[in-house]
């Protein structure tokens, strides 16, 4: 593992410039450029707000702000967009870079770092935009926001662990990528992002409880909407599980690496 980290450190310039180039390339020749990074999730928030605010708005207990539901949405979206971006990028990470891996030697471990790097950059942009909007609608940041770096870290650990694990398998069994496109959509709806867990019929409680993203998303919502500390016990369990998942993913990645190029 230390060897892996050393290689990554030696290639830090490459990782940084890859993240930069990745962002540049994504928005090259588009008028609004990097603004798209935040416009897309915000547009989604706007749609849900318009469509659902009447239905959902009243269900948010303990809030006074008339934009409470939009804030709730944005908090969930902030967590979800990081998750979805890291997972989808890691999922196709090796398949997309197959040509490069076949032709040029470089530490393969740099690839997940590049993926997380560019996902984090766009998420931080979104975060800044979110804070800005919060301030405009009269929901000023509180000290509880200091939880966010930790929450993001847990989020990344879980997303990367899952994405990398599936990404490695996807090299050998390409169906994984197709299946995950559907699974992720379903996953979005079984995570309380556009709705509150309280409105669900009692039978669904167990599904929600088994969903690690629920604990991450609800922590974001607690911190951003209510200005409270997240529920510590479930968060700690989620964090521990995420770290273990990430460790397994990296172990599998290391074991698979020699054979990966053979089938790419």
């Amino acid at each position: 593992m230390s060897e892996l980290l050393r290689a990554v450190w030696r290639y830090r310039h490459f990782i940084l410039s890859s993240v930069k180039n990745d962002l540049k390339a994504r928005f090259a020749r588009s008028r609004l450029g990097a603004a798209w990074m935040i416009l897309q999730p915000l547009a989604q928030v706007a749609i849900y707000s318009v469509v659902l605010s009447r239905v959902m708005g009243a269900k948010l207990p303990g809030t006074t702000n008339q934009y409470a539901y939009s804030i709730y949405l944005m908090a969930g979206m902030l967590a979800w967009s990081l998750f979805i971006e890291v997972v989808t990028r890691s999922l196709t990470l090796f398949v997309d870079n197959g040509n490069l891996m076949k032709k040029i030697y470089f530490p393969r471990a740099t690839l997940p770092f590049i993926a997380v790097g560019s996902a984090l950059v766009s998420n931080i942009f979104l975060f800044v935009a979110t804070i800005l909007i919060f301030t405009i609608v009269g929901h000023a940041p509180t000290w509880a926001f200091l939880w966010l770096p930790l929450l993001m870290a847990i989020n990344v650990a879980f997303s990367l662990g899952l994405g990398l694990l599936l990404g490695v398998i996807n090299v050998f069994v390409r169906d994984v990528g197709q299946v995950m496109a559907v699974v992720l959509q379903l996953w979005f709806w079984i995570t309380p992002i556009v709705y509150m867990p309280t409105i669900l019929p009692s039978g669904f409680g167990r599904i929600i409880a088994a969903n690690p993203m629920y604990y991450i998303v609800s922590s974001f919502q607690n911190v951003l909407l209510y200005g409270q500390s997240p529920a510590l016990a479930p968060l700690a369990w989620t964090a521990a599980g995420s770290v273990i998942l990430l460790a397994i993913a990296f172990l599998m990645f290391r074991r698979a690496a020699p054979e990966m190029v053979d089938v790419l």
């Binding site: 310039h13 490459f14 180039n21 076949k102 032709k103 040029i104 069994v173 599998m252 074991r255």
Partner: protein, 408 residues
């Protein structure tokens, strides 16, 4: 001698486990026998010293690329080891990882970063890279606006911006126009003088003999010969000839040309060879060398009147020289069935360097339109290399006597 590259017992197998789940199980320590193992390379051992130039040759599928990928570490060996002492650079896939939406300069940072260099090191090398590429203001334009030659120029400049300890070169690599090609080979030569070891992949026997001081011939995933380039290339040619005999007149050239034979086959060319004056069979001929073209013709039926013609063609199939025994007034009359005639044509190989083929015709008059006994394209392929003459270009060798006087 200090070795920069040591390959020991190297082998690479591509494995098929039947089910991918069995493959996954092997990562976690389970011992699963693969359903199918395909060994591309096996028992490869050799070492290369500092400053050596080694040609890696072999037919398609002999394992050349796999070996190079194992040396550059893009592939992991199944068994054995590769030890590289120093930095290795390959100019096989130029422009890999270039992003069309970035400028040349940005791509240089990226590509050099991919090679493991830091920002400071790249900054220091940047002026050199820019001036070597010689693409002017385009260097700061998007790569998408580049011609393929310009992209090659930038790619080569980055790939060779830092002198590696081992450089892997594909001899057939095209880096655009002749001027830049020349410049690239000059830089490679300079590297070698400074102690860089060269590994040169090539199909071209002439190039291997002129550029390398050692050659390794791979055949069927094993080292077939390792040693003096001339000997190794002879073995290579023997291998190719063997294959051609067994597959009978199908594809003979890497250019995809197909040998065609037509005619009544009442008379056939049994054998065609080029020999040096001391009687040795050769395929690599020096410019201006005296040679004998030996053609054995077998009559399979009674032939009243037999004319042999041959035509030397260049690699594009353009005729360079052709004649026949009708024009030389050496028509043979009344050849009995079963009789074999030996024709020996002696001439000076006054051709420029390159690959040539000989077509033969067995006819009764001066054209093959009356009686065509046998017409055979690409009956023999040979290479002319310039070892002894002053440099020249073109397919003909017309040695001049140049006098220079200063006029009052």
């Amino acid at each position: 001698m200090s070795n920069v590259l040591e390959v020991k017992g190297l082998g690479k197998a591509f494995r098929d486990y039947g089910s991918e789940f069995k493959r996954f199980a092997t990562w976690f320590g389970a011992s699963v026998t693969p359903r199918n193992e395909h060994w591309v390379l096996r028992d490869i051992s050799f070492s290369v010293g500092r400053g050596e130039a080694v040609g890696i040759v072999g037919q398609n599928g002999a394992g050349k690329s796999t070996l190079l990928k194992l040396i550059t570490r893009t592939l992991m060996p199944t068994e054995g080891s590769v030890a590289v002492h120093g930095r290795i650079a390959a100019i096989l896939e130029l422009g890999m990882g270039f992003n069309a939406d970035l400028t040349g300069r940005q791509n240089v940072y990226h590509a050099a970063g991919l090679m493991g260099f830091s920002r400071e090191q790249i900054d220091a090398a940047m002026p050199d890279i820019e001036s070597f590429a010689e693409i002017g203001d385009y260097f700061d334009e998007h790569v998408r606006t580049y011609s393929s030659g310009m992209q090659m120029r930038v790619a080569f400049s980055v790939a060779t911006a830092f002198r590696p300890d081992i450089l892997i070169v594909d001899e057939a690599l095209s880096v655009g126009d002749a001027y830049f090609q020349h410049k690239c080979f000059k830089r490679i030569k300079e590297f070698r003088e400074e102690g860089t070891t060269l590994l040169i992949v090539s199909h071209d026997s002439g190039a291997v003999q002129s550029m390398c001081d050692r050659a390794i011939l791979l055949q069927g995933g094993r080292v077939f010969r390792d040693g003096d380039p001339v000997e190794v290339m002879d073995a290579y040619n023997a291998l190719i000839a063997e294959r051609e005999n067994s597959t009978m007149k199908v594809e003979r050239l890497e250019t995809g040309q197909v040998q065609t034979t037509s005619g009544t086959l009442e008379a056939v060319v049994k054998d065609i060879q080029i020999h040096s004056m001391d009687g040795e069979r050769i395929e690599f001929i020096d410019v201006g060398q005296d040679v004998e073209l030996r053609i054995d013709v077998e009559a399979r039926a009674d032939i009243p009147r037999l004319v042999l013609g041959y035509m030397i063609k260049d690699r594009l199939g353009q005729p360079v020289f052709g004649t026949n025994t009708f024009h030389t007034k050496q028509v043979v009359n009344d050849v009995a069935a079963g009789c074999t005639l030996s024709y020996v044509a002696r001439f000076k190989m006054n051709l420029g360097p390159g690959s040539y083929s000989i077509s033969t015709a067995l006819v009764s008059t001066d054209t093959h339109l009356v009686d065509n006994y046998e017409w055979r394209d690409l009956a023999l392929i040979f290479t002319v290399a310039n070892h002894s003459q002053a440099h020249f270009v073109g397919s003909a060798w017309i040695p001049p006597q140049i006098d220079i006087k200063s006029l009052p």
